[in-house]
Amino acid sequence: MEKRYSLGIDIGSTTIKLIVTENGNVIYEKYVRHMSRARQMAAKILGEASHLLKDAEFTAAISGSGGMGLAEAAGIPFVQEVYATGEFISRTAPDTKVVIELGGEDAKVIFFDGGIDERMNGTCAGGTGAFIDQMAVLLNMSADEMDKESLKAKEIYPIASRCGVFAKTDIQPLLNQGAAKSDVAMSIYNAVVNQTVAGLIQGRKINGKVMFLGGPLHYCMGLRKCFINTLGLDQNTAIFPEYDRFAVAIGASIFAEGGKKYTYDEFLLKLVNASGREGETHLRLKPLFESEEEYNEFKARHARAHIETKDINSYSGRAYVGIDCGSTTTKLVLISEDKEILYSFYSSNQGNPADIVKEELINIRRLCGDRIKICGSATTGYGEELILNGFHVDFGVVETIAHLTAAKHFRPDVDFIIDIGGQDIKCFKIKDGAVDSIMLNEACSSGCGSFIETFAKSMGHTAEEFAKLGIYAKSPVDLGSRCTVFMNSSVKQAQKDGATVSDISAGLSVSVVKNALYKVIRAATPDDLGKHIVVQGGTFYNDAVLRAFERETGADAVRPDIAGLMGAYGAALYSMKKKGESTLLSHEQLQCFSHTSSVTVCGGCQNHCHITINRFSDGTKYITGNRCSRGEGKSAAEENPNMFEWKRAYFEKLKPKAGKRGKIGLPLALSTYELAPLWHALFTSLGFETEFSPFGSRAIYEKGQLTIPSDTVCYPAKIMHGHVTELIDRGLDKIFYPAATYNVDEHESENHYNCPVVAYYGEVLGGNMEALSKIGLLNPYISLDSPKKLSETLYPCLSEIDKTITKQQVFAAAKEGFKAYEDYRSAVQKEGERVIKFARENGKRIMILSGRPYHIDPEISHGIDKLSASLGFCIVTEDAVSHLSDYQNVNVLNQWTFHARLYRAADYAVHHDDTELVQLVSFGCGVDAITTDEVRAILERGGKHYTQLKIDEITNLGAVKVRLRSLLGALEEEA
């Protein structure tokens, strides 16, 4: 019989897989990383298989996201990769019901049951191989080591599963707080699984055999375990085929069968001649440097921002220590009385900053001997509190102040500082020598230093080599200015277009800069920044990044030669104000210093914070992860007034009262938060026992997680699914969430809409929650204009569930409802007045913690209210003060009831020196793209600081704390 050969090549985002089959049996396989040289690598590995193909004719097809352009250019058949997987399944294991495939940057789930249904991750979804690699880097482990470690896990922490950047923000503080690496590793896998379940499986039931494919699932046993547990599979239903990594390539070879036949030479020629340049869609930019001279001039100019160093061995006298314990790196400097650097240290955290600081302090103490006396010490950064408490450092300094102090040393008239670190971007505007406004990157846009580093590694270079390549790039790729995940796909496309590594390196540098300028700072012109700019942070050591920054802004920036040490240097300068003896641990104390940490759940309130108790060898204890002082054992009485708490207490009093018409349940989320008093009075008056779901929690969210159809909708909407599930689980069969295009008209705006999500979320619940299909959702379209209108629009729905209800009864009940609602609104305003009075009598600051009514939910605002109160603020809500202003000058179409309150609240803050406004913004809220700009404008016109806190599933408050403390720091400097 004649032998039939077929070739399948799968080119993914990072790897190439090649398969040769003979009569359908695999006779050759090869798996390599292509380092963004897909075409050359494909030709190379084809060459390695030449002995099999040299004398035969064969059919062939290319597959994979990286292979599309190549196939087109070469004129070789292309097959979409999911389709190829389908070919693989139907040939090898036709009884498979579901395939879950994780690739370098893709995640896919394919259902074969009842018509093929494929789902691929959207543009905003990490949780794939690249994500796992990045996380391993964070843990300072290889992917293998991380996997081994994960199998020892005891505890799983909640980690945001939306995308890599979110997860990093959760993981970093865990590491800094000393959580066990094994637990973190398993938690990372768990996040990946959650991402797949929430983003792709989306509530579809999994029955029968599930096949797992792709690199990560081939290598990571912990991940396998996690999937099996979460999906409730066993040995018979979870299949990990031998050829898992080659499924797509095999599928391609099957697809090719019966197609055109090639000889080896003919095929190779096609591959080699396929230039990747055609169909190029990425714009190319000017080279960063036109010539070697230009680069030398650049280097010489920046060499001027220089700090003197002094040999520690010849110095004697007073000295000061600054420690910057950042999210990924620890920096430490020792300076002389003349501010020269005696000693400096910069290293990655390797997961445990306390050990590094201990070692370095011992080293410094030893070098100092008796000649040098350490007279002051200060610490800053994410790990500030841990280091402050553990080593008895004299001062803890907010990052902003530390950086400003250092920048002033280089440029006393500095008016703008931009710091791009490993994980974050910080920008401060300086006015009259004090921090005027602070811009930090939101959790979704951290296209920062570690991002370039990860890319460098994935392309087989060190960060330094990669940066060097960028400097000499001939035509840098324009990769856009979005978040990390988007850039991943942009890079993928650039590779497809045939961009060189050096073009990509330069392009990434430009992207990081554009991201900072347009996403974080949102500058339109260089004048928006300032005249005297200081750039800092490790990322600016990269000349390509600095050059891109100067290019993009047209500004002449100062980059201190200690750009990466500025936080530590600033802290050291700050500590020079220390009077008396420094409390920093002595040489002997350091020698016997040790640090252990344990994790527990605080039971102080319903936040149930995961707290880490750090114990130090001298018996002191330091707790992290808590939101309020209750975690440290303090009582509620010592806390500042907090209207979030007050509102929650108000709602808790709305207890069900037994009634003749049975029970009705309301999910306590979205608009129910505002209208709970109305519904409670209305339904109680009609004789319904009115039951609300409890306040939100992670557990509530997880209950409904599987039925959320849109992974980019805001968290307050997503958690709705959990509240409804909870009510169903409690046996309620009448669940009420009305639709309302219009909200209550407060006559403060041009129109009184609800946002589309609040208005119509009932439609989504009804269409996506199977549990509701049996009992149905009471989702009448109502008008809140008056009791009459409400009763007219509500009656048809109510009469359907209980025929004995009359129109008159509904009207009377609606009147009761409106009365209760008005009572609530005036109670809110009265409480606002009380809190303000209290604050003024006690000389405390007032914070308008603003957002939407549903942001008071403890799971949605994650205890930011308590954190703010513990920092010394008295908390009021926007609707408690908005009536105190009659602000008219809104420059946007002011057409949503809830949002109109924000503008007035901002105006109130403008007119009161002791009042600050902080705006909570849910990730994905489209309306807030409009309100945040306007609220900021109102505040800044009035000379106030604007602080925005983006919130999502994210549970760690480290970044929030830095922001709020920076705000406090700035306020204190002004005072």
């Binding site: 009569n23 359908g24 049996n25 695999v26 996201s65 599309m68 352009g69 979409q80 990769e81 389709y83 040939r91 036709p94 249904d117 494929e118 691929m120 959207g122 543009t123 905003c124 989306q202 050829y243 714009l283 324009d478 200015s481 979005r482 988007f486 942009s490 993928k492 347009y518 339109a524 159809p709 849109s710 980019t712 909708v713 909407a717 639709a739 295009t741 041009e750 129109n751 809409y753 946002c755 589309p756 999500v757 119509y760 439609e763 269409g767 996506n768 379209y781 629009t793 008219q888 000058n889 420059n891 946007v892 179409l893 057409q895 994905g924 489209g926 309306v927 793209a929 409009i930 700009d933």
Partner: protein, 435 residues
């Protein structure tokens, strides 16, 4: 309420100002511009493209704003900065529906961006039937509205016919050339002034249909792919990376529901609100009448198209509306609202089983009427394949095209399968065991 940055378009600006129009639907907008020209407005459609449009938009507007807003802002400012127009004699125009979606705020976003870019003095005209803003120099009259409706109708006819011909034409470019020819002709005719007579419109439509019939085509089965979604991304090639063109290059036939349906939808929603909330009782008869008039014209023109025997006409609006029953309430009126859901169902019903739902990343109404109903639609119509595609300045074209390719692969496989089942039902696939 008077806004500080509000610059009205004054009466005397009409004579020497150029009004710039963002590009959403090239053919429709060109025709509408011709109509407005007869009323003395000097307008120009912006046909600029390329990545610098989005770049400019990102620079001057909030990056979380929706993609269409970023593009429109970018296109305007890019034009003002180009030096082609005298910024002191230029105005901009933008449609404003006034619904609860944030799109109603495009105008505010444009104004903010203009003042940031140093063009705060440039008037931005709100094109709105509800009269959200007052511009003394720009007023829509009833005859103007009628002519604009005709322009939309013509646009829909040309778009629909051209899409039905393009994938099959023997000589590439014939359909585009014909569309161009007719756009120019109709523009000239409408720009000549005077009242547009409906009988002339009908006559023109007959000629258009017969012209398109004459284009030589080849018989083959192209996969039909419906395009629905947020209105700007659905239509604008700038926003959707030339989605129609890509589909045609892959051998598929794009099926794009017309713009007139969206206009009728806006009127229909007024009726619904009147009935539901018992407001605006006086205007109710006017809306009812407008609805009747426009739907009648749509149906008559549709009849002309289907009478050819070669082309598919349009589903009546009443029918489209009824399809949404059981899936979504007609009171979901923000953004594309229930119409988006209904359009997906209409496509399925008319045999177009592959549907792309194009939306800007994080589009609020589409959480409800797009992604929110897909599960339900697929459950009840298992043969429908819906692909939700997100568009934004950073979304990579390669990802989008990869997904589209997958959809097309499967569509072809399904077509083959049903072919095979009818032809060679006994030919079982062989199973090969792997070592």
């Amino acid at each position: 309420m008077k806004k500080k940055n509000f610059v009205p378009f004054l009466k005397d600006m009409k004579k020497d100002y150029t009004i710039l129009v963002p590009n959403m639907l090239p053919v429709h907008f060109k025709l509408m511009i011709s109509v407005l020209k007869t009323y003395g407005y000097n307008m120009e459609l912006l046909e600029t493209e390329g990545p610098e449009i989005a770049e400019t938009g990102l620079k001057y507007t909030h990056n979380d704003a929706c993609y269409p807003a970023i593009l429109v802002v970018g296109q305007f400012i890019h034009a003002l900065q180009s030096g082609k127009y005298d910024p002191k004699k230029t105005a901009l125009i933008m449609a404003q529906t006034g619904g609860g979606c944030r799109a109603s705020n495009y105008i505010s976003l444009i104004r903010k961006a203009l003042s940031r870019a140093g063009y705060g003095h440039v008037p931005v005209i709100s094109l709105s039937l509800t009269g959200l803003e007052k511009h003394p120099g720009f007023k829509l009259t009833v005859p103007m509205i009628f002519s604009l409706v005709y322009a939309v109708l013509y646009g829909d006819v040309l778009m629909s016919l051209s899409n039905q011909v393009k994938p099959y034409e023997k000589k590439e470019g014939s359909a585009d050339a014909l569309t161009g020819k007719w756009t120019e002709h109709l523009g000239r005719e409408m720009g000549a002034g005077g009242k547009l007579s409906y009988s002339q419109v009908l006559k023109n439509c007959r000629s258009i249909v017969s012209d398109f019939e004459k284009i030589e085509t080849e018989a083959r089965d192209a996969v039909k792919v419906g395009i629905v979604g947020e209105i700007f991304v659905k239509y604008s090639p700038l926003a959707n990376n030339s989605l129609e063109k890509f589909l045609i290059s892959e051998g598929a036939e794009p099926v794009v529901p017309g713009l007139l349906d969206f206009c009728i939808y806006c009127v229909y929603n007024r009726n619904t609100s009147c009935k539901l909330y018992k407001t605006q009782k006086l205007r109710y008869p006017i809306y009812k009448l407008a609805y009747k008039l426009v739907t009648k014209k749509k149906d008559e023109i549709s009849d002309i198209i289907s009478a050819s025997g070669k082309f598919r006409g349009w589903t009546t609006f009443d029918k489209i509306a009824s399809l949404a029953d059981g899936y979504i309430n007609h009171a979901v009126v923000m953004g594309e609202g229930w119409l988006l859901t209904a359009e997906m169902l209409e496509l399925s019903e008319s045999g177009c089983k592959n549907i792309v739902c194009a939306q800007p990343f994080g589009c609020l109404p589409n959480h409800i009427c797009g992604k929110g109903v897909m599960k339900h639609i697929k459950e009840k119509n298992p043969d429908v394949n819906i692909l939700a595609l997100d568009y934004d300045p950073g979304a990579s074209r390669v990802n989008q095209e990869n997904r589209l390719k997958l959809m097309l692969f499967n569509a072809r496989k399904n077509a083959q399968k049903s072919d095979k089942i009818s032809k060679e039902a006994d030919n079982q696939p062989k199973i090969v065991h792997f070592t």
